[in-house]
Subunit: 295 residues, 2 copies
Protein backbone atom coordinates (compact mmCIF):
# COMPACT_ATOMS: atom_id res chain seq x y z
CA UNK A 1 0.00 0.00 0.00
CA UNK A 2 1.33 3.41 -0.93
CA UNK A 3 0.65 4.85 2.55
CA UNK A 4 3.40 2.53 3.81
CA UNK A 5 6.00 4.46 1.82
CA UNK A 6 8.61 5.47 4.36
CA UNK A 7 11.32 6.73 2.01
CA UNK A 8 11.49 8.18 -1.48
CA UNK A 9 14.88 6.71 -2.31
CA UNK A 10 16.92 4.16 -0.40
CA UNK A 11 20.60 3.62 -1.22
CA UNK A 12 21.97 0.22 -0.22
CA UNK A 13 25.75 0.30 0.08
CA UNK A 14 26.83 -3.29 -0.42
CA UNK A 15 24.31 -5.91 -1.55
CA UNK A 16 25.24 -9.06 0.41
CA UNK A 17 23.05 -11.24 2.61
CA UNK A 18 21.73 -8.42 4.83
CA UNK A 19 21.23 -5.58 2.34
CA UNK A 20 19.74 -7.92 -0.26
CA UNK A 21 17.27 -9.11 2.39
CA UNK A 22 16.46 -5.47 3.15
CA UNK A 23 15.90 -4.84 -0.58
CA UNK A 24 13.47 -7.74 -0.65
CA UNK A 25 11.35 -6.61 2.29
CA UNK A 26 11.38 -2.98 1.13
CA UNK A 27 10.00 -4.16 -2.21
CA UNK A 28 7.58 -6.60 -0.61
CA UNK A 29 6.04 -3.97 1.63
CA UNK A 30 6.54 -1.09 -0.82
CA UNK A 31 8.54 0.98 1.66
CA UNK A 32 10.34 3.09 -0.96
CA UNK A 33 9.77 4.46 -4.45
CA UNK A 34 13.30 3.67 -5.55
CA UNK A 35 16.18 1.45 -4.44
CA UNK A 36 19.69 2.26 -5.63
CA UNK A 37 22.43 -0.27 -4.95
CA UNK A 38 26.19 0.19 -4.77
CA UNK A 39 28.93 -2.40 -4.89
CA UNK A 40 32.56 -2.14 -5.94
CA UNK A 41 32.07 -5.34 -7.91
CA UNK A 42 30.09 -5.02 -11.14
CA UNK A 43 29.35 -8.77 -11.17
CA UNK A 44 27.59 -8.47 -7.81
CA UNK A 45 25.49 -5.56 -9.08
CA UNK A 46 24.55 -7.49 -12.22
CA UNK A 47 23.44 -10.45 -10.13
CA UNK A 48 21.38 -8.18 -7.86
CA UNK A 49 19.74 -6.42 -10.82
CA UNK A 50 18.88 -9.79 -12.38
CA UNK A 51 17.22 -10.69 -9.09
CA UNK A 52 15.16 -7.50 -9.39
CA UNK A 53 16.45 -6.09 -6.12
CA UNK A 54 16.84 -2.47 -7.25
CA UNK A 55 15.87 0.16 -9.80
CA UNK A 56 19.43 1.33 -10.31
CA UNK A 57 22.98 0.07 -9.73
CA UNK A 58 26.09 2.19 -9.26
CA UNK A 59 29.79 1.41 -8.87
CA UNK A 60 30.32 5.05 -7.90
CA UNK A 61 29.24 5.62 -4.31
CA UNK A 62 28.54 9.35 -4.79
CA UNK A 63 26.05 8.61 -7.57
CA UNK A 64 24.52 5.91 -5.39
CA UNK A 65 23.80 8.10 -2.34
CA UNK A 66 22.96 11.25 -4.30
CA UNK A 67 19.39 12.29 -3.42
CA UNK A 68 18.74 9.29 -1.19
CA UNK A 69 16.81 9.96 2.01
CA UNK A 70 18.00 6.67 3.57
CA UNK A 71 21.50 5.25 3.12
CA UNK A 72 22.19 1.77 4.56
CA UNK A 73 25.81 0.64 4.86
CA UNK A 74 25.89 -3.16 4.58
CA UNK A 75 29.58 -3.90 4.07
CA UNK A 76 32.26 -5.51 6.26
CA UNK A 77 32.69 -2.93 9.05
CA UNK A 78 36.33 -2.30 8.13
CA UNK A 79 35.16 -0.73 4.85
CA UNK A 80 32.96 1.93 6.50
CA UNK A 81 35.54 4.66 7.10
CA UNK A 82 36.63 5.03 3.48
CA UNK A 83 33.06 4.81 2.18
CA UNK A 84 31.85 7.44 4.68
CA UNK A 85 34.60 9.83 3.57
CA UNK A 86 33.82 9.27 -0.10
CA UNK A 87 30.06 9.59 0.09
CA UNK A 88 29.90 12.50 2.58
CA UNK A 89 29.90 15.35 0.02
CA UNK A 90 27.04 13.75 -1.94
CA UNK A 91 24.66 13.15 0.97
CA UNK A 92 21.39 15.04 0.93
CA UNK A 93 20.65 17.39 3.84
CA UNK A 94 18.12 15.61 6.10
CA UNK A 95 19.18 12.16 4.93
CA UNK A 96 19.45 9.34 7.45
CA UNK A 97 22.57 7.18 7.30
CA UNK A 98 22.37 3.82 9.05
CA UNK A 99 24.26 0.53 8.93
CA UNK A 100 23.78 -3.15 9.76
CA UNK A 101 27.18 -3.92 11.28
CA UNK A 102 27.73 -6.39 14.13
CA UNK A 103 29.95 -3.96 16.06
CA UNK A 104 28.74 -0.49 16.94
CA UNK A 105 31.32 1.66 18.80
CA UNK A 106 33.84 1.26 15.96
CA UNK A 107 31.15 2.01 13.39
CA UNK A 108 30.30 5.29 15.13
CA UNK A 109 34.03 6.11 15.41
CA UNK A 110 34.58 5.46 11.68
CA UNK A 111 31.46 7.02 10.15
CA UNK A 112 30.07 9.82 12.31
CA UNK A 113 32.97 12.34 12.12
CA UNK A 114 32.82 12.36 8.33
CA UNK A 115 29.12 13.05 7.85
CA UNK A 116 28.08 16.66 7.14
CA UNK A 117 25.79 18.43 9.62
CA UNK A 118 22.13 17.97 8.78
CA UNK A 119 22.71 14.28 8.02
CA UNK A 120 21.50 11.94 10.79
CA UNK A 121 23.50 8.88 11.70
CA UNK A 122 21.49 6.10 13.40
CA UNK A 123 23.53 2.86 13.63
CA UNK A 124 21.61 -0.41 13.85
CA UNK A 125 22.37 -4.10 14.12
CA UNK A 126 19.82 -6.68 13.00
CA UNK A 127 20.77 -9.80 15.00
CA UNK A 128 19.94 -12.23 12.22
CA UNK A 129 21.88 -14.02 9.55
CA UNK A 130 22.78 -17.29 7.95
CA UNK A 131 26.10 -18.83 6.96
CA UNK A 132 25.45 -17.90 3.32
CA UNK A 133 26.53 -14.67 1.65
CA UNK A 134 25.89 -12.68 -1.50
CA UNK A 135 22.76 -11.08 -3.02
CA UNK A 136 21.25 -14.47 -3.89
CA UNK A 137 21.39 -15.57 -0.22
CA UNK A 138 18.95 -12.93 1.07
CA UNK A 139 15.22 -13.31 1.76
CA UNK A 140 12.54 -10.88 2.92
CA UNK A 141 11.78 -12.78 6.15
CA UNK A 142 15.37 -12.90 7.43
CA UNK A 143 14.70 -10.34 10.17
CA UNK A 144 11.24 -11.49 11.15
CA UNK A 145 10.99 -12.32 14.84
CA UNK A 146 14.64 -11.38 15.44
CA UNK A 147 15.98 -8.49 17.48
CA UNK A 148 17.36 -5.37 15.89
CA UNK A 149 19.53 -3.26 18.21
CA UNK A 150 19.63 0.47 17.47
CA UNK A 151 22.57 2.36 19.03
CA UNK A 152 22.12 6.10 18.42
CA UNK A 153 24.96 8.43 19.46
CA UNK A 154 23.98 10.75 22.35
CA UNK A 155 23.24 13.80 20.15
CA UNK A 156 21.13 11.84 17.66
CA UNK A 157 17.94 13.34 16.21
CA UNK A 158 14.87 11.77 17.87
CA UNK A 159 12.83 11.80 14.67
CA UNK A 160 15.57 9.95 12.78
CA UNK A 161 15.81 7.33 15.53
CA UNK A 162 12.05 6.87 15.36
CA UNK A 163 12.15 6.35 11.59
CA UNK A 164 14.84 3.65 11.89
CA UNK A 165 12.97 1.93 14.72
CA UNK A 166 9.79 1.90 12.60
CA UNK A 167 11.70 0.64 9.58
CA UNK A 168 12.95 -2.42 11.48
CA UNK A 169 9.54 -3.05 13.00
CA UNK A 170 8.14 -3.16 9.46
CA UNK A 171 10.82 -5.80 8.71
CA UNK A 172 9.25 -7.90 11.47
CA UNK A 173 12.01 -7.26 14.00
CA UNK A 174 11.74 -6.61 17.71
CA UNK A 175 13.68 -3.39 18.34
CA UNK A 176 15.84 -2.45 21.33
CA UNK A 177 17.69 0.86 21.76
CA UNK A 178 21.04 0.49 23.51
CA UNK A 179 24.36 2.22 24.15
CA UNK A 180 26.96 1.20 21.51
CA UNK A 181 29.62 0.12 24.00
CA UNK A 182 27.18 -2.06 25.90
CA UNK A 183 25.98 -3.55 22.60
CA UNK A 184 29.56 -4.53 21.80
CA UNK A 185 29.93 -6.37 25.11
CA UNK A 186 26.60 -8.19 24.77
CA UNK A 187 27.42 -9.28 21.23
CA UNK A 188 31.00 -10.22 22.15
CA UNK A 189 29.67 -13.00 24.39
CA UNK A 190 26.48 -13.98 22.52
CA UNK A 191 27.86 -13.89 19.00
CA UNK A 192 31.50 -12.95 18.45
CA UNK A 193 33.04 -15.41 20.92
CA UNK A 194 30.82 -18.31 19.73
CA UNK A 195 31.95 -17.60 16.16
CA UNK A 196 35.60 -17.36 17.18
CA UNK A 197 35.41 -20.68 19.02
CA UNK A 198 33.62 -22.37 16.13
CA UNK A 199 36.21 -21.15 13.64
CA UNK A 200 38.95 -22.32 15.98
CA UNK A 201 37.70 -25.84 16.66
CA UNK A 202 36.98 -26.49 12.99
CA UNK A 203 40.56 -25.45 12.24
CA UNK A 204 41.91 -27.62 15.08
CA UNK A 205 39.94 -30.65 13.90
CA UNK A 206 41.38 -30.38 10.41
CA UNK A 207 44.90 -30.48 11.86
CA UNK A 208 44.67 -33.57 14.08
CA UNK A 209 47.00 -36.19 12.56
CA UNK A 210 45.47 -39.17 14.38
CA UNK A 211 42.05 -38.46 12.84
CA UNK A 212 41.63 -37.85 9.12
CA UNK A 213 39.63 -34.89 7.79
CA UNK A 214 37.42 -37.47 6.10
CA UNK A 215 36.58 -38.99 9.47
CA UNK A 216 35.88 -35.57 10.97
CA UNK A 217 33.43 -34.86 8.16
CA UNK A 218 31.90 -38.35 8.37
CA UNK A 219 31.11 -38.30 12.08
CA UNK A 220 30.24 -34.61 12.34
CA UNK A 221 26.70 -35.41 13.50
CA UNK A 222 27.98 -36.01 17.03
CA UNK A 223 28.14 -32.27 17.75
CA UNK A 224 30.81 -30.89 15.43
CA UNK A 225 28.29 -30.19 12.66
CA UNK A 226 26.74 -27.14 14.36
CA UNK A 227 30.20 -25.62 14.71
CA UNK A 228 30.96 -26.08 11.01
CA UNK A 229 27.80 -24.17 10.15
CA UNK A 230 28.84 -21.20 12.28
CA UNK A 231 32.43 -21.47 10.99
CA UNK A 232 31.15 -21.13 7.42
CA UNK A 233 30.11 -17.51 8.00
CA UNK A 234 31.54 -14.82 5.73
CA UNK A 235 35.35 -14.63 6.34
CA UNK A 236 35.84 -10.96 5.46
CA UNK A 237 32.88 -9.80 7.53
CA UNK A 238 34.05 -11.76 10.57
CA UNK A 239 37.68 -10.68 10.21
CA UNK A 240 36.46 -7.08 10.49
CA UNK A 241 34.22 -7.84 13.47
CA UNK A 242 37.12 -9.24 15.49
CA UNK A 243 39.46 -6.41 14.49
CA UNK A 244 36.81 -3.82 15.43
CA UNK A 245 35.55 -5.30 18.69
CA UNK A 246 38.99 -6.31 19.88
CA UNK A 247 38.72 -5.20 23.49
CA UNK A 248 35.39 -6.84 24.33
CA UNK A 249 36.23 -10.04 22.43
CA UNK A 250 39.59 -10.40 24.19
CA UNK A 251 37.89 -9.81 27.55
CA UNK A 252 35.26 -12.51 26.93
CA UNK A 253 37.87 -14.88 25.50
CA UNK A 254 39.96 -14.42 28.63
CA UNK A 255 36.99 -15.44 30.78
CA UNK A 256 36.23 -18.41 28.53
CA UNK A 257 39.86 -19.60 28.70
CA UNK A 258 39.90 -19.33 32.50
CA UNK A 259 36.75 -21.42 32.76
CA UNK A 260 38.12 -23.91 30.24
CA UNK A 261 41.26 -24.38 32.36
CA UNK A 262 39.12 -25.15 35.40
CA UNK A 263 37.12 -27.68 33.40
CA UNK A 264 40.31 -29.25 32.06
CA UNK A 265 41.53 -29.67 35.62
CA UNK A 266 38.22 -31.28 36.63
CA UNK A 267 38.59 -33.83 33.81
CA UNK A 268 42.23 -34.53 34.63
CA UNK A 269 41.46 -35.10 38.31
CA UNK A 270 38.27 -37.04 37.67
CA UNK A 271 36.08 -34.48 39.45
CA UNK A 272 32.71 -35.78 38.28
CA UNK A 273 30.75 -33.55 40.66
CA UNK A 274 32.21 -30.36 39.20
CA UNK A 275 31.44 -31.55 35.66
CA UNK A 276 27.87 -32.56 36.45
CA UNK A 277 27.24 -29.30 38.32
CA UNK A 278 28.23 -27.21 35.29
CA UNK A 279 26.35 -29.43 32.84
CA UNK A 280 23.15 -29.17 34.90
CA UNK A 281 23.46 -25.40 35.15
CA UNK A 282 23.86 -24.94 31.38
CA UNK A 283 20.82 -27.12 30.71
CA UNK A 284 18.71 -24.60 32.63
CA UNK A 285 20.00 -21.74 30.44
CA UNK A 286 18.93 -23.68 27.35
CA UNK A 287 15.41 -23.90 28.76
CA UNK A 288 15.40 -20.10 29.15
CA UNK A 289 16.58 -19.65 25.55
CA UNK A 290 13.87 -21.97 24.25
CA UNK A 291 11.25 -20.17 26.37
CA UNK A 292 12.43 -16.76 25.10
CA UNK A 293 12.19 -17.98 21.50
CA UNK A 294 8.64 -19.18 22.01
CA UNK A 295 7.42 -15.92 23.54
CA UNK B 1 7.01 -59.46 8.94
CA UNK B 2 7.90 -62.39 11.15
CA UNK B 3 10.91 -63.37 9.00
CA UNK B 4 12.52 -60.15 10.21
CA UNK B 5 12.67 -61.52 13.76
CA UNK B 6 16.31 -61.23 14.71
CA UNK B 7 15.99 -62.01 18.42
CA UNK B 8 13.60 -63.87 20.68
CA UNK B 9 14.07 -61.62 23.67
CA UNK B 10 15.86 -58.29 23.91
CA UNK B 11 16.74 -56.80 27.30
CA UNK B 12 17.19 -53.04 27.32
CA UNK B 13 19.26 -51.94 30.31
CA UNK B 14 18.27 -48.30 30.86
CA UNK B 15 15.39 -46.78 28.91
CA UNK B 16 16.52 -43.24 28.09
CA UNK B 17 16.68 -41.49 24.71
CA UNK B 18 18.74 -44.17 22.95
CA UNK B 19 17.28 -47.40 24.34
CA UNK B 20 13.71 -46.08 24.08
CA UNK B 21 14.41 -45.26 20.42
CA UNK B 22 15.74 -48.81 19.97
CA UNK B 23 12.56 -50.20 21.59
CA UNK B 24 10.50 -48.20 19.10
CA UNK B 25 12.29 -49.42 15.98
CA UNK B 26 12.41 -53.01 17.26
CA UNK B 27 8.63 -52.87 17.68
CA UNK B 28 8.09 -51.04 14.40
CA UNK B 29 10.03 -53.62 12.38
CA UNK B 30 9.07 -56.58 14.61
CA UNK B 31 12.71 -57.51 15.32
CA UNK B 32 11.97 -59.37 18.56
CA UNK B 33 9.22 -61.40 20.18
CA UNK B 34 9.73 -59.77 23.55
CA UNK B 35 11.33 -56.64 24.97
CA UNK B 36 12.23 -56.52 28.66
CA UNK B 37 13.34 -53.22 30.13
CA UNK B 38 15.39 -52.48 33.22
CA UNK B 39 15.82 -49.23 35.11
CA UNK B 40 16.75 -48.56 38.72
CA UNK B 41 13.92 -46.01 38.80
CA UNK B 42 10.40 -47.44 38.96
CA UNK B 43 8.92 -44.13 37.70
CA UNK B 44 10.98 -44.41 34.51
CA UNK B 45 9.79 -47.98 33.94
CA UNK B 46 6.16 -46.97 34.50
CA UNK B 47 6.51 -44.19 31.94
CA UNK B 48 8.09 -46.58 29.42
CA UNK B 49 5.38 -49.22 29.95
CA UNK B 50 2.67 -46.56 29.46
CA UNK B 51 4.38 -45.67 26.18
CA UNK B 52 4.10 -49.34 25.19
CA UNK B 53 7.85 -49.74 24.77
CA UNK B 54 8.16 -53.22 26.33
CA UNK B 55 6.36 -56.39 27.33
CA UNK B 56 7.94 -56.50 30.77
CA UNK B 57 9.73 -54.15 33.17
CA UNK B 58 12.21 -55.11 35.89
CA UNK B 59 14.05 -53.19 38.60
CA UNK B 60 16.17 -56.30 39.16
CA UNK B 61 18.84 -56.58 36.46
CA UNK B 62 19.21 -60.36 36.78
CA UNK B 63 15.50 -60.91 36.09
CA UNK B 64 15.79 -58.48 33.18
CA UNK B 65 18.64 -60.25 31.35
CA UNK B 66 17.55 -63.79 32.22
CA UNK B 67 16.91 -65.70 28.98
CA UNK B 68 17.57 -62.70 26.73
CA UNK B 69 19.53 -63.38 23.54
CA UNK B 70 20.40 -59.69 23.13
CA UNK B 71 21.25 -57.36 26.02
CA UNK B 72 21.75 -53.65 25.23
CA UNK B 73 23.36 -51.44 27.86
CA UNK B 74 22.04 -47.90 27.43
CA UNK B 75 23.14 -46.18 30.64
CA UNK B 76 25.76 -43.53 31.43
CA UNK B 77 29.05 -45.35 30.74
CA UNK B 78 30.18 -45.00 34.36
CA UNK B 79 27.37 -47.36 35.40
CA UNK B 80 28.50 -50.25 33.16
CA UNK B 81 31.01 -51.93 35.45
CA UNK B 82 28.62 -52.53 38.35
CA UNK B 83 25.79 -53.63 36.03
CA UNK B 84 28.09 -56.05 34.17
CA UNK B 85 29.17 -57.63 37.44
CA UNK B 86 25.59 -57.94 38.66
CA UNK B 87 24.06 -59.36 35.50
CA UNK B 88 26.91 -61.73 34.55
CA UNK B 89 25.62 -64.82 36.41
CA UNK B 90 22.16 -64.50 34.78
CA UNK B 91 23.29 -64.18 31.17
CA UNK B 92 22.27 -66.95 28.80
CA UNK B 93 25.04 -68.89 27.03
CA UNK B 94 25.21 -67.65 23.45
CA UNK B 95 23.71 -64.26 24.35
CA UNK B 96 25.09 -61.12 22.73
CA UNK B 97 25.80 -58.17 25.02
CA UNK B 98 26.18 -54.79 23.35
CA UNK B 99 26.00 -51.14 24.41
CA UNK B 100 25.36 -47.71 22.93
CA UNK B 101 28.01 -45.70 24.81
CA UNK B 102 29.90 -42.74 23.34
CA UNK B 103 33.27 -44.04 24.55
CA UNK B 104 34.48 -47.52 23.69
CA UNK B 105 37.87 -48.45 25.20
CA UNK B 106 36.57 -47.79 28.73
CA UNK B 107 33.39 -49.73 28.01
CA UNK B 108 35.41 -52.78 26.95
CA UNK B 109 37.63 -52.37 30.03
CA UNK B 110 34.60 -52.21 32.35
CA UNK B 111 32.32 -54.87 30.84
CA UNK B 112 34.30 -57.56 29.04
CA UNK B 113 36.26 -59.09 31.97
CA UNK B 114 33.03 -59.78 33.87
CA UNK B 115 31.10 -61.62 31.18
CA UNK B 116 31.09 -65.44 31.32
CA UNK B 117 32.58 -67.40 28.44
CA UNK B 118 30.01 -68.20 25.76
CA UNK B 119 28.57 -64.68 25.99
CA UNK B 120 29.61 -62.40 23.13
CA UNK B 121 30.41 -58.74 23.75
CA UNK B 122 30.07 -56.47 20.70
CA UNK B 123 30.27 -52.77 21.71
CA UNK B 124 28.56 -50.25 19.44
CA UNK B 125 28.05 -46.51 19.28
CA UNK B 126 25.14 -45.03 17.32
CA UNK B 127 26.34 -41.49 16.51
CA UNK B 128 22.93 -39.93 16.90
CA UNK B 129 21.07 -38.11 19.61
CA UNK B 130 19.20 -35.02 20.64
CA UNK B 131 19.50 -32.73 23.65
CA UNK B 132 16.43 -34.40 25.20
CA UNK B 133 16.52 -37.38 27.54
CA UNK B 134 14.18 -39.96 29.04
CA UNK B 135 11.92 -42.66 27.50
CA UNK B 136 9.48 -40.07 26.13
CA UNK B 137 12.27 -38.40 24.12
CA UNK B 138 12.95 -41.40 21.86
CA UNK B 139 11.68 -42.04 18.34
CA UNK B 140 12.09 -44.95 15.90
CA UNK B 141 13.86 -42.86 13.22
CA UNK B 142 16.57 -41.45 15.51
CA UNK B 143 19.30 -43.60 13.94
CA UNK B 144 18.15 -43.42 10.35
CA UNK B 145 20.86 -42.11 8.03
CA UNK B 146 23.35 -41.78 10.91
CA UNK B 147 26.53 -43.73 11.45
CA UNK B 148 26.79 -46.52 13.97
CA UNK B 149 30.35 -47.48 14.90
CA UNK B 150 30.90 -51.07 16.02
CA UNK B 151 34.14 -51.69 17.95
CA UNK B 152 34.53 -55.46 18.54
CA UNK B 153 37.41 -56.60 20.76
CA UNK B 154 40.05 -58.63 18.84
CA UNK B 155 38.78 -62.04 19.91
CA UNK B 156 35.13 -61.27 19.14
CA UNK B 157 32.87 -63.88 17.53
CA UNK B 158 32.35 -63.09 13.82
CA UNK B 159 28.72 -64.24 13.84
CA UNK B 160 27.89 -61.99 16.78
CA UNK B 161 29.51 -58.99 15.07
CA UNK B 162 27.48 -59.73 11.95
CA UNK B 163 24.23 -59.81 13.96
CA UNK B 164 24.95 -56.43 15.56
CA UNK B 165 25.92 -54.91 12.20
CA UNK B 166 22.66 -56.19 10.69
CA UNK B 167 20.66 -54.93 13.67
CA UNK B 168 21.93 -51.37 13.16
CA UNK B 169 21.39 -51.55 9.42
CA UNK B 170 17.76 -52.45 10.11
CA UNK B 171 17.62 -49.29 12.27
CA UNK B 172 18.56 -47.34 9.15
CA UNK B 173 22.14 -46.69 10.21
CA UNK B 174 25.30 -46.75 8.12
CA UNK B 175 27.67 -49.08 9.95
CA UNK B 176 31.45 -48.83 10.33
CA UNK B 177 33.66 -51.30 12.20
CA UNK B 178 36.58 -49.65 13.97
CA UNK B 179 39.19 -50.17 16.69
CA UNK B 180 37.92 -48.87 20.07
CA UNK B 181 40.92 -46.63 20.76
CA UNK B 182 40.71 -45.01 17.35
CA UNK B 183 36.96 -44.52 17.86
CA UNK B 184 37.69 -42.66 21.08
CA UNK B 185 40.07 -40.26 19.31
CA UNK B 186 37.68 -39.61 16.42
CA UNK B 187 34.80 -38.93 18.80
CA UNK B 188 36.97 -36.82 21.12
CA UNK B 189 37.37 -34.23 18.34
CA UNK B 190 34.03 -34.58 16.52
CA UNK B 191 31.78 -34.84 19.56
CA UNK B 192 33.33 -34.73 23.03
CA UNK B 193 35.36 -31.53 22.59
CA UNK B 194 32.46 -29.68 20.89
CA UNK B 195 30.24 -30.61 23.84
CA UNK B 196 32.88 -29.56 26.38
CA UNK B 197 33.32 -26.20 24.67
CA UNK B 198 29.59 -25.63 24.42
CA UNK B 199 29.11 -26.42 28.12
CA UNK B 200 31.99 -24.11 28.95
CA UNK B 201 30.91 -21.06 26.95
CA UNK B 202 27.34 -21.27 28.19
CA UNK B 203 28.71 -21.32 31.74
CA UNK B 204 31.05 -18.39 31.00
CA UNK B 205 28.24 -16.34 29.47
CA UNK B 206 26.10 -16.76 32.57
CA UNK B 207 28.93 -15.37 34.71
CA UNK B 208 29.75 -12.15 32.81
CA UNK B 209 28.79 -9.27 35.13
CA UNK B 210 28.70 -6.62 32.40
CA UNK B 211 26.03 -8.56 30.51
CA UNK B 212 22.92 -9.89 32.23
CA UNK B 213 21.77 -13.49 31.77
CA UNK B 214 18.54 -12.03 30.40
CA UNK B 215 20.50 -10.26 27.65
CA UNK B 216 22.43 -13.43 26.85
CA UNK B 217 19.16 -15.31 26.43
CA UNK B 218 17.56 -12.46 24.46
CA UNK B 219 20.30 -12.11 21.84
CA UNK B 220 21.21 -15.79 21.60
CA UNK B 221 20.27 -15.89 17.90
CA UNK B 222 23.63 -14.34 16.99
CA UNK B 223 25.42 -17.68 17.35
CA UNK B 224 25.15 -18.58 21.04
CA UNK B 225 21.87 -20.46 20.51
CA UNK B 226 23.46 -23.51 18.86
CA UNK B 227 25.83 -23.84 21.80
CA UNK B 228 22.98 -23.80 24.31
CA UNK B 229 21.34 -26.69 22.47
CA UNK B 230 24.49 -28.81 22.70
CA UNK B 231 25.03 -27.69 26.31
CA UNK B 232 21.57 -28.99 27.22
CA UNK B 233 22.64 -32.61 26.66
CA UNK B 234 22.23 -35.08 29.53
CA UNK B 235 24.58 -34.02 32.38
CA UNK B 236 25.17 -37.45 33.88
CA UNK B 237 25.84 -39.09 30.53
CA UNK B 238 28.33 -36.40 29.56
CA UNK B 239 30.06 -36.38 32.94
CA UNK B 240 30.79 -40.07 32.38
CA UNK B 241 31.99 -39.54 28.81
CA UNK B 242 34.62 -37.03 29.90
CA UNK B 243 35.72 -39.14 32.85
CA UNK B 244 36.02 -42.21 30.60
CA UNK B 245 37.71 -40.65 27.57
CA UNK B 246 40.01 -38.48 29.61
CA UNK B 247 43.22 -38.98 27.67
CA UNK B 248 41.87 -38.32 24.17
CA UNK B 249 39.71 -35.37 25.34
CA UNK B 250 42.66 -33.73 27.13
CA UNK B 251 44.83 -34.22 24.04
CA UNK B 252 42.27 -32.58 21.73
CA UNK B 253 41.60 -29.82 24.25
CA UNK B 254 45.33 -29.08 24.40
CA UNK B 255 45.42 -28.66 20.63
CA UNK B 256 42.31 -26.48 20.69
CA UNK B 257 43.79 -24.24 23.41
CA UNK B 258 47.05 -23.84 21.47
CA UNK B 259 45.16 -22.78 18.36
CA UNK B 260 42.96 -20.46 20.42
CA UNK B 261 46.06 -18.72 21.83
CA UNK B 262 47.35 -18.12 18.31
CA UNK B 263 43.98 -16.69 17.28
CA UNK B 264 43.91 -14.48 20.39
CA UNK B 265 47.31 -13.11 19.43
CA UNK B 266 46.11 -12.41 15.88
CA UNK B 267 43.19 -10.39 17.25
CA UNK B 268 45.37 -8.50 19.72
CA UNK B 269 47.89 -7.55 17.03
CA UNK B 270 45.26 -6.83 14.40
CA UNK B 271 46.49 -9.55 12.06
CA UNK B 272 43.53 -9.55 9.66
CA UNK B 273 45.26 -11.80 7.14
CA UNK B 274 45.68 -14.62 9.67
CA UNK B 275 42.04 -14.34 10.70
CA UNK B 276 40.72 -14.33 7.16
CA UNK B 277 42.95 -17.25 6.18
CA UNK B 278 41.53 -19.44 8.96
CA UNK B 279 37.94 -18.32 8.33
CA UNK B 280 38.22 -19.16 4.63
CA UNK B 281 39.71 -22.58 5.39
CA UNK B 282 36.91 -23.55 7.79
CA UNK B 283 34.26 -22.51 5.26
CA UNK B 284 35.61 -25.19 2.92
CA UNK B 285 35.26 -27.85 5.62
CA UNK B 286 31.60 -26.88 6.06
CA UNK B 287 31.06 -27.50 2.35
CA UNK B 288 32.51 -31.00 2.77
CA UNK B 289 30.21 -31.67 5.75
CA UNK B 290 27.15 -30.52 3.80
CA UNK B 291 28.21 -32.64 0.81
CA UNK B 292 28.72 -35.71 3.04
CA UNK B 293 25.27 -35.22 4.54
CA UNK B 294 23.67 -35.08 1.13
CA UNK B 295 25.30 -38.26 -0.15
Amino acid sequence: MSDNIAFERIALIGIGLINSSIARFVKKYKLAHEIVIYSRRESTLNKAMELGLAERAETDICSAVNGADLVILGVPVGANLKLAQEMAPSLKVGAIVTDVGSVKAAVIRDIKPHLPSGVHFVPAHPVAGTEHSGPEAGFAELFSGHWCIVTPPVDCDAGAIQKIVEFWKLAGSKVEVMDATHHDKVLAITSHLPHLIAYNIVGTAADIEAVTEKEVVKYAAGGFQDFTRIAASDPEMWRDIFLNNQEAVLEMLGRFTEDMAALQKAIRWGDGEALEALFSRTRKIRRDVVKAKQT
